[in-house]
C-alpha cells in the first residue's frame, strides 16, 4: 500500500440503473482492499435500480475509514457510464481539479422519449462535461464492448481506462485477481476488456 498523493481520493461512479454501477464500484473496492487501503462505498440502490439515475461514492484512504458520502464539490474522479449522468454528477460533485472518464453512449430515459424534449445533443453534452473537468477521457466503452460480443463488458473497459489514467494505483495483478474471484466464468473476456480500456485511455 502506498501513501496517497491526496487522502482520501473521492471517486463517483455515475450511471443509470441496470448498467452495473454497483458492480464497477465493487470491482474497484475489492481490489483496493486487497492492496491494503481503507475503502468506503455508498451507493444509491433500491427503486433507483429501475431506470433511474444511480451513483456510487468510493472513498480510498491509506489512513482511515471515511463516511460513505462525498460532500458537495469534492470528487477527484468521475467515472461516467452515461453522459447525462456524468454531467449531473459534475454539477453536484465536480470542481476545477476533477478528472472525468466518460462513456458517450446515451441511455434514453422514458422522460426524454415521452416529453418530446429528446436526448441532449451529444457534442454539446460532451463539451459541457469537458468544460467542467480538468481532464476528460472519452471512452467509447459500449461500442467497443459490443465488438467484444457483450455490451456489459463496457464496465470493465471503463475500469481499464480509469486505471490507465494513473490516478488510482491499481496493479495489474490485483485487478486480475479480483476478476478471477468475481467473474470466474468470464475471466478472458473481462481481461480483454480491461486491456481495451487501457488502450483507449492511453491514446488520450
Amino acid at each position: 500500500m502506498n501513501k496517497l498523493a491526496k487522502d482520501p481520493i473521492n471517486v463517483v461512479v455515475a450511471g443509470v440503473g441496470g448498467q452495473g454501477n454497483v458492480m464497477v464500484t465493487l470491482v474497484l473496492g475489492n481490489t483496493l482492499v486487497h492492496d491494503g487501503y481503507f475503502v468506503t462505498i455508498g451507493e444509491t440502490y433500491g427503486a433507483s435500480q429501475r431506470g433511474g439515475s444511480v451513483m456510487s461514492h468510493l472513498k480510498i484512504s491509506a489512513e482511515k475509514q471515511y463516511s460513505p458520502l462525498i460532500p458537495e464539490g469534492q470528487a477527484d474522479i468521475v467515472l461516467g457510464m452515461e453522459p447525462v449522468e456524468t454531467l449531473r454528477v459534475l454539477k453536484s460533485y465536480g470542481n476545477q481539479n476533477v478528472v472525468t472518464v466518460v462513456n458517450p453512449r446515451p441511455i434514453h430515459a422514458v422522460d426524454f422519449t415521452g416529453s418530446g424534449a429528446g436526448y441532449p445533443d451529444m457534442r454539446e453534452l460532451l463539451a459541457q462535461i469537458t468544460g467542467m473537468s480538468a481532464k476528460t477521457y472519452i471512452v467509447e466503452a459500449t461500442g467497443e464492448a459490443q465488438k467484444l460480443g457483450n455490451s456489459m463488458l463496457a464496465n470493465m473497459i471503463l475500469i481499464g481506462a480509469l486505471i490507465q489514467t494513473g490516478l488510482v494505483t491499481i496493479s495489474r495483478e490485483a485487478i486480475e485477481k479480483t476478476i478471477v474471484d468475481m467473474f470466474p466464468k468470464a475471466v478472458k473476456e473481462n481481461i480483454a476488456a480491461l486491456s481495451k480500456g487501457r488502450e483507449l485511455a492511453a491514446k488520450q
Binding site: V33, G42, E43, G52, I107
Partner: protein, 646 residues
C-alpha cells in the same frame, strides 16, 4: 464468489454493513436466523442463507416479520442463540410481540433483533426512526457507527441479552447497513447446538415456565431493574467514545451514520482543535455518567443524528435534571433547526449545522466553477423517472388493467401495495394506482370501498398486490372481503419472487431460504378455499388478460381474484436467452403522422423503445431491449414485429 463465513480471522475484507452484521452473528455462534426481506436489511439473512448448511445453522425467510420474531423467540427458549432481522416497517408489525417479550423475558440463549432503518426512504414508503421503540418498550438498543462495529457489536449484544435475559435491538441505517467498508474478521466458533425446552416451575430458574407476561406490573418493574444494570454496563462500553480536545468550543453528540459524517465534517472544516465528538454506540439505556462528564467539557452541544432527534430529546431531558453544581449547556440540533428531523443526514448537512453554531468559513468550490455549474442547461440533466425494467410483466399487467378500467367506463381505480409495482403510481404503470401505503393496505382499503355501494358508490375497485405481499398480509383482507360480500377485484401480480428486495423465496416458491425443496402453497387454492372466483392469466397475452380483467370488474358482487402470472424478467434472463428478435419496420411506423399519438414512446414507455427525432420514427435500443415481444401487440400499424428466436 466470496461468502461471509470466509475462514480467515484477522484478514481485511470489503463487506456491506449487513454482511458485517451477519458475520458478527456467525462469530457469536448463532444457530437460528429468521427474517422477512426489506431494504436496507435483506442481506443479513440472505448472506447467512448462503452458508447455513455448511455452518449447521437454520435460516428461514418467514412469511412475515411477526412470524419471524415469534419463531426466533422459540429458538431462544430452547437454548439456541437466535437472530431476527427486518426493516423498520417490519418493526411496526412486531410491536405487539415485543411489548410482551420484554415482560416475559427470553430463554437461556440470546435473542437479537436487527432493524434496518431507511432515512430518506430510498426504498421505502416512510422513513420512521426505530430508536424510540427502545425507550417506549424498555428494550436495550445499540447502533453501529461504522462497518467494523456492525460486526463486533453482535457478539457483544448476545452477551448482554443472555446476561440480563432480555431481547436486544441493533438499529442500523441505510448508510451503514447498505454501505461498504473494511472489516477485520474474527473467529467463527464451532458450536454444537442442542435444543430443548426445559420446563422449570421454580421462579428462580434461568427460564421459569410458563413463559408469560403476567403479573405485568411486577415484570415491568423487573425490566426497569434490568435496564438500570445494563446502563451500568453501557457506561464502560468501548462502543461509546469521546475524541477531541479536553475543552472544545463545541461538543458534537452523535451516533450511527452521524459518527463518520461528523469526523468528515470536522476534517473538512479543519476544526479538530475546536470540536470534540461524543459518539454513542449504546443508546438505550443511556449511559448517563459518561454523557454527564462529556457535557461538562463544553458550553455548546450540537446533536448530529439521522432522522429523529432521539439523543437530543433524551439527553436534554436528562440534563434538565442535573444537580445545581452542573453548568447549563447551550443545546443545538433539531429544536434549533440546525438539522432536519426528516430526510437523509449527509456530510454537507453536518458541515452546515456546525458552521451555523461556530463561525467557520467554508466554500467547497471556487466562484468560477460555480458559474459553470449554474450555466448547465436544465434540459441536459432532466430527471429520470423510475420505470419497470424492459420486459417486466408488470408493465403488461397494468396495460391490461388500464384498458379494462377504461372500457368499463365507470372511473374505476387501483388501490396499490408495496413492491416494484408501487411504481404504477407514475407513468410506469400509466398512473393507475391511486393509493399507496403499507403492506396489505391496498386490500384493506378495497374492502372498505367495496362496501360503499350502499352510499351511492358505483366505481370498480381493483386491489393490486405482489405474490410475496399476498402471503405476508393480504389473506386476512380477502377473507374479510368474501365473508362480508365486499365488491372488489384482487389482482395478484405473481412474478415468482420477492423481486423488489432481491428475489427472495416466499411460500409460493419452490425452494426455502436454505435451497431445500419447499412445500409450495398455491395462491389459487387458498383463494378458492376462501370462496373467491379465481382466474389465472398470462399478462403478456394482453388481449386475453384485458378480457379477463373486464369480466372481473363487471362482476356485480363479492371479492374475486385475478392472478397475473409471469416470471420476473430479471429472474428469467438469468436462466434463458431472449425469446424474440424485435424489429421496427420504418415503412410502417408513421411517427407523429399516425393517429396513435406515439402510443409506444409516449404511453407504453418501455425504455427499450426510443424516439428518433431525425427520422421521426420509433427505434429499438438494442442494448436495453429484452425482446419480450409485448410492444408488438400495442402498435396499431403493426410496425413492431417479433420473430421467435430458434
Amino acid at each position: 464468489m466470496q461468502y461471509i463465513d470466509i475462514d480467515a480471522p484477522g484478514s481485511n475484507q470489503l463487506f456491506i454493513g449487513n454482511e458485517a452484521m451477519a458475520r458478527g452473528a456467525l462469530e457469536a455462534g448463532i444457530g437460528w436466523a429468521s427474517a422477512y426481506p426489506g431494504t436496507p436489511s435483506s442481506e443479513i439473512l440472505g448472506s447467512l442463507a448462503e452458508v447455513a448448511k455448511k455452518r449447521g445453522i437454520y435460516v428461514e425467510w418467514s412469511v412475515n416479520e411477526k412470524v419471524a420474531i415469534e419463531a426466533g423467540a422459540a429458538a431462544s427458549y430452547a437454548g439456541i442463540r437466535s437472530l431476527v432481522a427486518m426493516k423498520m416497517n417490519g418493526l411496526n408489525v412486531v410491536i405487539d410481540f415485543l411489548s410482551t417479550i420484554v415482560l416475559s423475558g427470553i430463554g437461556k440463549k440470546g435473542l437479537v433483533l436487527m432493524v434496518g432503518d431507511d432515512p430518506a426512504a430510498h426504498s421505502s414508503s416512510n422513513e420512521t426512526d426505530s430508536r424510540p421503540v427502545s425507550k417506549w418498550l424498555d428494550i436495550p438498543l445499540v447502533e453501529p457507527g461504522d462497518f467494523q462495529e456492525a460486526k463486533d457489536m453482535i457478539p457483544y449484544l448476545y452477551d448482554i441479552s443472555e446476561e440480563f435475559g432480555t431481547i436486544c435491538i441493533l438499529r442500523s441505517v441505510t448508510r451503514v447497513a447498505h454501505a461498504r467498508g473494511n472489516i477485520r474478521l474474527g473467529e467463527i466458533p464451532k458450536v454444537v447446538h442442542k435444543a430443548r425446552f426445559e420446563q422449570y416451575f421454580d421462579p428462580a430458574a434461568p427460564m421459569p415456565t410458563p413463559i408469560m407476561c403476567v403479573p405485568s406490573s411486577f415484570r415491568h418493574m423487573f425490566q426497569h431493574m434490568r435496564l438500570d444494570k445494563i446502563r451500568e454496563k453501557f457506561e464502560t462500553s468501548t462502543y461509546n467514545k469521546y475524541v477531541g480536545p479536553e475543552k472544545p468550543d463545541l461538543l458534537i453528540v452523535t451516533s450511527g451514520s452521524g459518527w463518520l459524517y461528523s469526523q468528515d465534517a470536522v476534517n473538512a472544516l479543519k476544526a479538530e482543535n475546536r470540536i470534540g465528538i461524543l459518539k454513542l454506540g449504546t443508546l438505550w439505556p443511556l449511559p448517563e455518567k459518561l454523557v454527564k462528564s462529556c457535557l461538562s467539557k463544553a458550553d455548546k452541544v450540537l446533536f448530529i443524528e439521522e432522522t429523529d432527534p432521539f439523543l437530543e430529546g433524551v439527553i436534554m431531558e436528562f440534563a434538565a435534571g442535573f444537580s445545581p453544581e452542573s453548568k447549563r449547556n447551550l443545546f443545538y440540533g433539531n429544536h434549533t433547526r440546525h438539522l432536519n428531523s426528516f430526510g437523509e443526514l449527509t456530510p454537507d448537512a453536518v458541515i452546515k449545522a456546525i458552521t451555523g453554531v461556530l463561525d467557520i468559513p467554508y466554500a467547497p468550490r471556487d466562484a468560477d466553477y460555480m458559474k459553470k455549474v449554474e450555466a448547465v442547461p436544465q434540459q441536459y440533466v432532466m430527471d429520470r423517472l423510475l420505470t419497470f425494467c424492459p420486459g417486466c410483466p408488470h408493465r403488461a399487467s397494468f396495460w391490461a388493467i388500464k384498458n379494462a378500467l377504461a372500457m368499463d367506463g365507470r372511473h374505476g381505480f387501483v388501490t396499490g401495495d408495496i413492491g416494484c409495482y408501487s411504481m404504477a403510481l407514475g407513468p410506469a404503470g400509466f398512473f393507475q394506482t391511486r393509493t399507496h401505503q403499507c403492506m396489505g393496505a391496498g386490500a384493506g382499503l378495497a374492502n372498505g370501498f367495496g362496501q360503499l355501494h350502499r352510499f351511492g358508490f358505483d366505481q370498480p375497485v381493483v386491489s393490486v398486490v405482489g405474490d410475496s405481499t399476498f402471503y405476508h398480509s393480504i389473506i386476512p383482507g380477502l377473507v374479510n372481503g368474501v365473508h362480508n360480500h365486499s365488491d372488489f377485484t384482487l389482482v395478484i401480480l405473481d412474478n415468482g419472487a420477492t423481486a423488489m428486495t432481491g428475489f427472495q423465496p416466499h411460500p409460493g416458491t419452490e425452494l426455502t431460504a436454505m435451497g431445500e425443496p419447499a412445500a409450495q402453497i398455491s395462491m389459487e387454492n387458498i383463494c378458492r378455499a376462501i370462496g373467491a372466483r379465481v382466474e389465472v392469466c398470462d399478462p403478456f397475452d394482453l388481449k386475453s388478460t384485458t378480457r379477463t380483467m373486464l369480466s372481473m370488474i363487471e362482476q356485480k358482487e363479492g371479492a374475486r381474484v385475478a392472478i397475473m402470472r409471469r416470471t420476473c424478467e430479471l429472474v428469467r434472463q438469468k436462466k434463458e436467452e431472449k425469446p424474440y428478435k424485435m424489429k421496427i419496420d420504418p415503412e410502417k411506423c408513421l411517427g407523429e403522422d399516425c393517429g396513435c399519438n406515439r402510443l409506444c414512446t409516449r404511453v407504453f414507455r418501455c425504455p427499450g423503445l426510443i424516439w428518433d427525432p431525425v427520422a421521426g420514427k420509433t427505434k429499438i435500443d438494442e442494448v436495453i431491449c429484452n425482446e419480450c415481444g409485448v410492444c408488438a401487440d400495442i402498435c396499431p400499424e403493426g410496425a413492431i414485429t417479433r420473430e421467435a428466436v430458434a
